[in-house]
């Protein structure tokens, strides 16, 4: 078990480094930070001065080494656009995004798991067809558009929820639904196929033969086993929620990391964009590692085999 976790953790760290390197190189090749700091129509001389002052005249790999050393010490650099340390910008907003991501995950769980279970237990009936149709439709709805439609319906026509902002819990209801809905199709499908598979297993037949009623059977044997793969997928989905916050936070004007990311891109604020890409990747990698560990803890075949 320990050696398995150590192996996965080593891979996760290697992936995190690779991702930070790739993001740094891509961003710095795509744009010249000196132009971004100087602003449009700046003198070539001014740009040259900026390049020297910020050390942008050094080779790319030296700058990456510098950046990485800073990040490892907890120094995330200074934002050109906001004139603040990037660490402060992130710290001010990380709570909002985590709140949104966890509420979204709750929405996913509350919709996808009962729906998947109902579809599996009523296979090939209208319930099953409805659930699959819902999954296909949900995958085709643009996330940002769903947000706007919900604002029109539930904030303007029926003023139940506020239009935008992040001051009270009511502000998070619509965004959490929008962000959570995007994870419903994969989780629902997994729950459905998992439960169908479990219900056909030998031990379920044995339990039936021993006289278990279907309710108890479902609770004691089937659901627990069908939920195993779902738990690890939920961990991965939570990692994606943080990355998916970009659109939702922009639609609902929530001051979290996602909106910060969009504002930094529009302001050509490379240091902030770099850190955010790195942090989002780190969350994703961490959640995958958690999923691997959960899998190993719940399923002995993985940690031994």
């Amino acid at each position: 078990m320990l050696s398995y976790i150590a192996q996965r953790a080593a891979l996760a760290i290697a992936v995190a480094f690779t991702v930070s390197l790739a993001a740094f190189m891509l961003l710095n090749i795509a744009t010249d930070p000196a132009y971004a700091i100087a602003g449009e129509d700046a003198d070539p001389e001014v740009i040259e001065q900026i390049r020297q002052r910020f050390g942008l005249d050094r080779p790319l790999w030296v700058r990456y080494g510098d950046w990485l050393a800073g990040v490892l010490r907890g120094d995330f650099g200074v934002s050109y656009y906001w004139n603040k340390p990037v660490a402060t910008l992130v710290a001010e907003r990380v709570g909002t995004t985590l709140t949104l991501a966890f509420s979204a995950l709750m929405v996913t769980i509350a919709i996808a798991i009962p729906l998947g279970a109902l579809a599996a237990l009523n296979r090939n009936t209208w319930i099953d067809r409805f659930a699959l149709w819902l999954a296909v439709s949900a995958q085709a709805v643009p996330n940002f558009w769903l947000g706007l439609i919900l604002i029109i319906l539930f904030a303007v026509m029926l003023p139940i929820f506020p239009v935008s902002g992040d001051h009270t819990w009511q502000h998070f209801v619509l965004p959490a639904f929008v962000l959570g809905a995007s994870s419903v199709p994969p989780v629902m499908r997994l729950m459905r196929t998992g439960l169908i598979e479990v219900m056909g297993a030998d031990y379920i037949r044995t339990a039936r033969a021993k006289g278990y009623r279907s309710g108890a059977l479902l609770m004691r044997h089937a659901l627990r086993n069908a939920l195993l793969p779902v738990v690890s997928v939920l961990a991965v989905q939570l990692g994606q929620k943080v990355g998916g916050s970009v659109i939702t936070e922009s639609v609902f004007a929530i001051n979290g990391l996602g909106r910060l990311a969009l504002q930094s891109i529009l302001g050509a604020d490379i240091p902030t964009v770099q850190i955010l890409i790195f942090l989002f990747a780190l969350v994703f990698v961490g959640m995958n590692l958690l999923a691997d560990i959960l899998n190993a803890a719940l399923d002995p075949r993985i940690r031994i085999g």
Binding site: L27, S137, F144, W145, I151, A261, I265, I277, A281, F284
Partner: protein, 309 residues
């Protein structure tokens, strides 16, 4: 009764019926027969074909120019709302451009980007997947590592930053979305290649002296084609949604090009009193993407019915 002696179905001269000794249908015939009965495939393929035709003939179908502004005719409602006119069937936008014409031309932007990006993803993903699956060993390990790293990158955020920093244009949007959207091709082709390369006909080709290049081109890729086409249709929908998201956020296709995502962003300012400005382009996106997904689901059922859930 061997198949070679019965090259065509024999008709019984007395009853006029074909005896039970017909040639079994080929996989292609079976697939076509299943396609004929698959409702989802027909609906998806039908809508997709119609929208492709709209995209091709957009200049002939659109009643007005999608760029012609007319300030006296700003923000006209659609024909079914009070104040609407048949002249502007779906009304006009905030600078008086005909909304129907912009929606029709928007089909072009979405489909061009979808096809282009899905093709770039296909080339990258299939190449890596086949190489990793065929050669195994260190090739497989390095490709797997690249895959893990790619999956960890926040795709949308990176695409936003790269498109905006390089300079948003149709070509840049296609290349970036395509270059970030190849993982699904890789995962599927890699495991399928691993399976195919263990089959007898590959061993036979190798025994007869075929080089790896010949085996990949003549034995493996033809057997992957149906899987690749299925993924292509799904990636088409994903790329179209990605472009719409980028354009909506202001870092994709730029004004005045009629992109559905951009139109939703422009209509957002007036959506409380004129919700159709946001609803209509969103419906277009939904119909196009669901058509691609229905066709993908249908193709999967038709070409490999054993994977049907």
């Amino acid at each position: 009764m061997s198949e070679s002696t019965q090259s065509r179905p024999v008709v019984d001269p007395v009853s006029g019926r074909t005896p039970e000794t017909e040639i079994p249908a080929s996989p292609g015939q079976l697939a076509r027969a299943r396609a004929w009965h698959h409702r989802g495939f027909q609906v998806g393929a039908g809508i997709l074909l119609a929208l492709v035709l709209v995209a091709i003939f957009a200049p002939f179908l659109a009643p007005h120019s999608p760029y012609q502004q007319s300030l006296p005719n700003r923000l006209l409602p659609p024909v079914w709302v009070e104040g609407g006119s048949w002249e502007y069937l779906l009304g006009t936008d905030h600078v008086g451009r005909d909304y129907l014409s912009r929606l029709i031309h928007g089909t072009r932007v979405s489909i061009t980007i979808g096809l282009g990006a899905a093709t770039i993803g296909l080339i990258i993903g299939v190449t890596l997947g086949v190489l990793a699956g065929y050669f195994g060993g260190w090739v497989d390990h390095s490709v797997s590592f690249v895959l893990t790293a790619q999956l960890a990158l926040p795709g949308l955020l990176l695409a936003m930053a790269l498109v905006f920093f390089i300079g948003p244009s149709l070509l840049v949007v296609i290349c970036i979305i395509g270059a970030l959207g190849w993982t699904y091709y890789l995962v599927v082709t890699r495991s399928a290649t691993q399976h195919i390369r263990s089959l007898d006909f590959v061993a036979a080709a190798r025994a007869s002296g075929a080089t790896p290049r010949q085996i990949i081109w003549h034995e493996i890729l033809p057997n992957l084609s149906s899987k690749i086409i299925v993924i292509f249709t799904f990636e088409l929908g994903i790329a179209i949604l990605a472009e719409a998201s980028l354009s909506f956020l202001g870092v994709g296709i730029q004004a005045p090009t009629p992109s559905w995502g951009l139109m939703i962003a422009e209509g957002k300012e007036a959506m409380f009193y004129r919700p159709w400005l946001v609803v209509l382009p969103g419906m277009c996106l939904f119909v196009l993407v669901i058509a691609a997904n229905l066709m993908g689901d249908g193709l999967r059922d038709i070409t490999s019915p054993e994977e049907k859930s």
